[in-house]
Symmetry: C2
Subunit: 459 residues, 2 copies
């Protein structure tokens, strides 16, 4: 249990404040009695509020009773947070809002939990309103076949895990270069939550698998009957049927009353409104795994049966929505981001301030868990008027590392939609605003059809 004693990847508070000259400053409370070191303040200037009406005058809300305690109610965010919402575009919706996607404002995310009200969602037939008392889960293809009510399903011993869910199209609009000057639209096809449910291996243990079982079909109860087939090794490793998200019942748009969770793998495998699973010797080639969710390669062929979301990362602060316009010269500022890998646990993240020419290690902060968002942090001393090109590069415990855009594009071309995980870059402009850019070489098509880097006549 000692391994969980700390919630921080590092045991040292240095993890939070990476300012070398102050390394010994926390050694004892007594040291804090010393006058703050001149010129090394985290905030470059301070104010005592002179002349600020918000300090001099009593605010209206302090002069009267507030609202009654929220008895018998379910709370909502402050009206001042009305801009922190999921968003959609016509570009993604193809004119049908029921077979579309709503993306998460990850530029406003904190830690590794996405609140349920902001969790991204992707539908193929809209959100059904399912009566849990009438919903059933059928399990076929096992030695014993079974139909479960929701109450019966929840009697199995439960497990709780924190995992991200990511649409494999996350970032996939941008193979040919940035289309959105926005983190929410560029990378918000993902979220991360605490999931509670039952391991499928726990149920299968009761029912018995037939010899030769290699695949499991998952079928949704919505009008699209969303179907996907999953290799049995993954199913018996960590796939779950979940009924709760962040400590409460799944939201309708997340599959209420139950969905499949396939940790680290494509979000569309996590079939929502789950009504049936069936075990078999062969894959099912469902509509949604042949018409979609394949990888078109430069030679015109499409690859099937690849599932894990690759190691990936993005800088969250700053981002196009959260610039550095209000920073003062000489102020220390935290560059913060998210890293994740469907293959395992994030081992580290490198940060570049010059578009990938040089790299420095960032600190991982908070909980570092498998197939889960991991926060990273790098302290930077802001220089008024500077221009930076910020990039992050994550690597995981399976030896995977994020490719450059050049590497990814020369490997798989630009015709793909899914599984884009090339390094993302933000340009910090002289005025502190942030622009989504892409660092890449000139490309050309070689005689054999492949896309290659144009190195001036070679290739």
């Amino acid at each position: 249990m000692d391994k969980n004693k700390t919630q921080n990847a590092s045991d040292s508070v240095e993890n939070e404040v990476e300012v070398k000259s102050r390394r010994d400053f926390f050694k004892s409370a007594a040291a804090l009695s010393a006058t703050a070191l001149a010129g090394s303040s985290l905030l470059a200037s301070e104010t005592k509020g002179e002349g600020d009406p918000n300090i001099l005058e009593e605010p209206e809300w302090a002069t009267k009773w507030g609202d009654p305690v929220t008895y018998n109610r379910y709370g909502m965010p402050s009206p001042y947070e009305h801009n922190v919402v999921r968003r959609n575009t016509k570009l993604l919706a193809s004119g049908n809002w029921r077979a579309s996607i709503a993306v998460t404002p990850i530029h406003e995310s904190e830690g590794i939990i996405t609140p349920n009200g902001l969790f991204f969602n992707r539908h193929h037939g809209g959100t059904p309103t399912i009566d849990p008392n009438k919903h059933r889960l059928m399990i076929n293809g096992t030695e014993k076949e079974i139909v479960l009510t929701m109450d019966e399903l929840k009697r199995y011993p439960s497990v709780t895990r924190i995992h991200f869910v990511e649409c494999p199209a996350n970032g996939g609009q941008e193979w040919r270069g940035p289309q959105y000057n926005s983190l929410q639209f560029a990378k918000g096809f993902m979220s991360c939550a605490q999931w509670t449910g039952v391991y499928i291996k726990t149920i299968v243990k009761d029912l018995g698998l037939k010899p030769g079982t290699q695949w499991m079909l998952a079928e949704g109860g919505d009008s699209s009957s969303m179907g996907r087939t999953i290799p049995i090794e993954k199913v018996l490793d960590d796939a779950m049927i979940v009924w709760a998200q962040n400590g409460e019942a799944l939201r309708p748009e997340q599959g209420y009353p139950i969905r499949l969770l396939v940790p680290g793998w494509e979000g569309n495998l996590c079939v929502k409104w789950l009504k049936r699973i069936e075990f078999s010797t062969d894959p099912y080639f469902c509509k949604e795994e042949t018409s979609k969710y394949t990888a078109l390669r430069p030679d015109g062929k499409a690859i099937q049966h690849f599932y894990a979301n690759e190691v990936n990362s993005t800088i969250v602060k700053p981002s196009p929505e959260k610039g550095w316009q209000n920073l003062k010269d000489g102020e220390w500022i935290e560059i913060e981001g998210l890293a994740w890998s469907g293959f395992g646990t994030i081992r580290g993240v490198d940060i570049s301030l010059d578009g990938g020419k040089t790299w420095k290690p960032a600190k991982l902060k908070g909980l570092v868990l498998p197939k889960c968002w991991t926060r990273f942090s790098y302290m930077h001393k802001f220089k008024k008027g500077e221009e930076l090109v910020l990039a992050s590069r994550a690597y995981d415990d399976e030896g995977n590392i994020q490719p450059t855009v050049d590497q990814e594009v020369t490997a798989v071309g630009v015709e793909a939609v899914y599984h884009r995980n090339a390094i993302e870059t933000w340009k910090v402009n002289k005025d502190g605003s942030v622009t989504h850019v892409q660092v890449r070489s000139k490309l050309k098509r070689a005689k054999d059809g492949r896309v290659v880097i144009d190195e001036g006549g070679k290739a």
Copy 2:
């Protein structure tokens, strides 16, 4: 980082299913091909859905488009979950719903995260609606004094931690015996969330502490100007000023835009709508820490300056709201509960089925973190018509263990309100319903005024 590789306290899946005869059943996927062991199913019977109209007929929701994707919106729970809400009673409200408490439906909790919509809340002057652009944080009593806007505050390097917050009155209505046949009302004065903010020690490092500083005042911006004083050692250990909860801005009733977080200590110290902190050599004896939040002892004196919520636990499933009425004879069922300690990390939990006569170790499951809810689990084979008296007893890494009701009452009497952490018991009745009971000896008052156990003329 390996220490965080697993999200489970045990590396073995045995943690989830504690059924001895099947211990080797998971060793390989091949083993799962065997027919399920006759008679040892987790669910005692199975159905193929014969005659169930919910299987035979296509549900209405599968025949039509569902609702459009929630673009530009903030989601809400399913209408079928309308009973999972915070609740209040007149008993607690004293006729003023603005200085009251709303308790969390912890019988429906899953894992260690309480969603923000269900997080318990306690107010002294109602919930103010604060404009974050006008709100300021003033810091006094430091070498440099400062006033911060919310933007400036958020520029400090942030930390994210999962901690419970508990009102010290949790369970305090029940010193003289059960008053509520309800887990929500008996123990729902607490919740647990992921908090993001800045350590106060990080700010203090910039500003410099004056020699002899021993206390910190925290003052709320609501109409009650809620004030509490906190020893400087705790402040410099892990106290935080937080602006985010479960990945989004604090809810208004949780202190939007900022609150204090004092991990593991009384919830009322976590001053909401925080407007000022001041460092000093002496405590402040604010109204709310003299009129309330002291501990009345049998001799009529009240103890001040005790802060940490003691080690505690409660069984969540079953509970008065979640009985075993629908279980079948011979079915395996998971007894599940929550344990927590304001002093540190939960080391273990014992379970009793006979009201505390005999104890067996439960398994800790999921993440085990300091000053955080910890889930425990015990698999029980249900016998139709059995009567049980279920109890749990938690202990932490500081050597603390929950007392019996006898032990607690003889130590501190029954006049107290706060810091009750005696063992909680549920009676499982013959029909599977669950009743809140208390296991205690007969008590009497000794000549010196102390409450003692009546052992038949002795004492």
